[in-house]
């Protein structure tokens, strides 16, 4: 029981401190889940993000369900997900009921401009650390660069990008194996 409460509270904290959607959650997940708790590795976070991109639903929710499942099975997945959405539900309900012009308040605007600068720094710091884990050979650098180039130039859905990368991974592994056999 305590484990589930723990899972709920940690994910509530992550949800309550994440500004700006699934990707902004990454630095929080890295700190709370990977570094503080050891519930998942950075490589696993990358896997969850990749799968979360091409399955329905919100990435933040998908990732929370994955980590919850990994920690405490199916119920764990549900508990972590409820945790990650709980702060949003409370805060947004209060704003929708009492403060419809919340986003127009000058002080909120300035605070948020500062926060988005910080979120940007945090995401890049997380990317550097993930890159060290995931970009270890020429193949991975090629995939990484192609994904960035394709996403910036074309308006293509991440689903196709992820599927193509998966296929590339299978082909690359095959080629590597045949070379080793020879």
């Amino acid at each position: 029981m305590k484990d589930y409460l723990d899972l709920f509270l940690i994910f509530a904290r992550i949800g309550g401190l994440t500004f700006g959607g699934g990707y902004a959650m990454l630095p929080m997940l890295k700190k709370e889940v990977v570094e503080n708790r050891g519930w998942a590795t950075e490589e696993e976070l990358l896997d969850y993000y990749a799968i979360g991109q091409c399955t329905p639903g919100i990435i933040a929710v998908n990732t929370a369900t994955f980590i919850g499942y990994k920690t405490k099975g199916i119920l764990g997945g549900i508990v972590a997900t409820l945790g990650v959405v709980a702060p949003s539900v409370v805060i947004i309900t209060l704003i929708a009921l009492f403060l419809q012009n919340f986003a127009d308040i000058t002080i909120v605007k300035h605070a948020f401009a500062g926060i988005s600068v910080c979120v940007c720094v945090l995401i890049f710091d997380a990317i550097l650390s993930l890159g060290k884990k995931s970009l270890k050979n020429i193949f991975s650098w090629v995939v990484f660069s192609l994904v960035i180039a394709i996403s910036l130039v074309f308006d293509i859905s991440p689903i196709f990008v992820v599927i193509l990368a998966g296929i590339a991974g299978v082909i690359y592994t095959r080629i590597k194996k045949t070379k080793e056999v020879k």
């Binding site: 630095p27 309900t93 970009l135």
Partner: protein, 187 residues
């Protein structure tokens, strides 16, 4: 009855919106046009609010739309509808993955997915940076390259990064400092 409808509409959004919170938007416009539960102005409000409050955008949107429609219970129902498909689908994938995670083919797929995932996150980071650090609007008006960069934001970003590397505190500390700096510097 309206609750069942809310649950169903947001369940659909959760099932078919692939790839993050903003993918939920087209569904909201669709629901608004079809049911009239909330207006386009409500959607505009909720985008602004979602972006200036913590939490996943999609969840914020569902809660807001639900509350506007039928109050607190509506917010809960819409949110549950939205996250239900995710929970079911991911639990199934996670169960399968757990079973086959050591299979060679799964390992091979992940060898491609991991760098791709890093790439997609980098692109998302670049989009955030564009909004947070550059003044695209001002630049397109004046055409002066010095107007393109918001100097204070960039200095703040450098300072935060230096602090992050030096003190290694919890991210929320830096977020709080950045919010204060934003208010003080009138960013």
């Amino acid at each position: 009855m309206i609750f069942l409808q809310l649950l169903f509409e947001f369940f659909k959004a959760g099932l078919f919106a692939v790839g993050g919170g903003l993918a939920t938007l087209p569904f909201l416009f669709d629901i608004s046009a079809k049911t009239g539960w909330f207006s386009t102005q409500d959607i505009m409000n909720l985008i602004a609010i979602s972006e200036s409050t913590p939490g996943p955008l999609g969840v914020n949107m569902a809660t807001y739309a639900g509350v506007v429609t039928t109050g607190v219970a509506g917010g809960l129902v819409a949110t549950i509808g939205l996250i239900l498909p995710s929970i079911v689908i991911i639990e199934i994938i996670a169960t399968i993955l757990e079973k086959f995670k050591n299979a060679k083919i799964v390992q091979a797929i992940f060898s491609g997915l991991r760098p791709a995932s890093t790439g997609l996150i980098t692109v998302a980071g670049l989009m955030v940076a564009k909004v947070a650090l550059l003044n695209i609007e001002l630049f397109s008006e004046t055409g002066k390259i010095t107007d393109l960069f918001s100097i204070f934001s960039i200095i703040l970003a450098v300072l935060i990064y230096a602090g992050l590397k030096k003190f290694k505190k919890h991210p929320v500390i830096y977020i709080a400092i950045a919010a204060a700096a934003g208010i003080l510097l009138q960013l």
